[in-house]
Amino acid sequence: MMWRLLKRDLSILMPGGSRSGGRGGAILPLLFFLAVAMLYPFAVGPDAPLLAKTGGGVIWVAALLAAILPLDRLIAPDLELGIFDQLALRGISEESVVAIRMLAHWLSFAPLLLIAAVPASALLGLEYDTTKLVMLGLLAGTPGLAAIGVMIAALTAGLRGGAALSGLLLIPLAVPILIFGAGSLALGDPSGIALCGAISLLLVAITPFAGGAALRSVREN
């Protein structure tokens, strides 16, 4: 049963998924991420040492923004369709629904983002060591970003204009991940990444309960 839910969630969220069509291109966040990495050198000028120094941070910010893009497709459409009502009738807990949605969201953007980070690093002229730190940091940080995204999407699903609000809410919550994930780049050693991973794990653990409670309160009021 969990597998069925995951399969449906992936078909909505993955690029090219069979149910993704009208819900806005799922490939957009990825193109957005690459576009930011491409535009940044134009904005700051062709100063190779400066690009190499700040490029890692830019990749992090681009990843954060790319994670915000699909927020309005995460929870709200299914709420409107009545999918959550029907799942609740069948005794499937909101917590497991949210946990599966979180996994699907991560799978839909993080692996592709990690792959896209390679050409992005090349565009910004990053060193091998910096690229490695960026990749490790994104690997540790993206589950946390996915968790925050699903939590915020569930909290704002019942609200009008929730899409704009959710982007605004996500950014402060993502600050700890950014500080430790991108902060490890300034230090040049991976100690911050461990903390980034710890925050990610905490967020992943909290989200099913926070998101589940949010879905229930939308339904019962």
Binding site: R19, L81, D85
Partner: protein, 194 residues
């Protein structure tokens, strides 16, 4: 189908600051049908959601034995997916052994390859009914089941409800339209309005 029941004791419903109705009790057993009537906005849909356990009553309790199937204005089928895939998702969640039957009974067998968003109101209602039949639930809660259906489909739905209750199921239908259920009990929600 094993014995099923649904009990509501002295429930009240509040939406915002307004109490819509109060003091409503019902006791339904296997094989019984109930038609809840009332004007728009009197709280029929809210009552159905309370009975389904999706909405908390302002006071009173609801309990049931047997699985609940709810048919309301949301078909809960992905608009982008082909009708067949949308129905298959729920059939798999419900572990339905023979999901092909209801589609044919409701004349939507030809539409299975059509994306759900292209279906008409009546066809969507039929699809939602097929989902309900696949669920094989003992207790049917039908909110405006006849809306958008043509007379032929309305007759089919009536026959399906009779078959369901004849097999030991419960059917509670809320509608402002008359439903052809000869054996059904009636509740007029106006009697409980505040």
């Amino acid at each position: 189908m094993q014995a099923c029941s649904i009990l509501a004791d002295n429930i009240a419903c509040r939406r915002g600051d307004r109490v819509l109705f109060r003091g409503l009790s019902l006791d339904m057993r296997s094989g019984q049908a109930l038609h809840i009537s009332g004007a728009n906005g009197i709280g029929k849909s809210s009552l159905m959601r309370i009975l389904a356990g999706l909405l908390k009553p302002a006071s009173g309790t609801v309990s049931h034995k047997g699985a609940i199937g709810l048919l309301d204005e949301n078909p809960a089928i992905d608009p982008q997916a082909r009708l067949a895939d949308g129905l298959k998702f729920w059939a798999q969640i419900d572990n339905c052994g023979n999901p092909a039957g209801p589609e044919l009974a409701l004349d939507i067998g030809d539409l299975l390859d059509v994306p759900f968003r292209y279906l008409s109101t009546g066809q969507r209602k039929r699809a939602a009914f097929a989902r309900l039949l696949n669920q094989n639930a003992a207790i049917w809660l039908l909110d405006e089941p006849l809306n958008g259906l043509d007379t032929d489909a309305q007759a089919k739905i009536g026959a399906l409800i009779k078959l369901h209750c004849g097999g030991g199921g419960i059917c509670i239908a809320a509608s402002h339209q008359p439903i052809d259920l000869p054996e059904a009990q009636m509740i007029a929600l106006e009697d409980f309005a505040v």
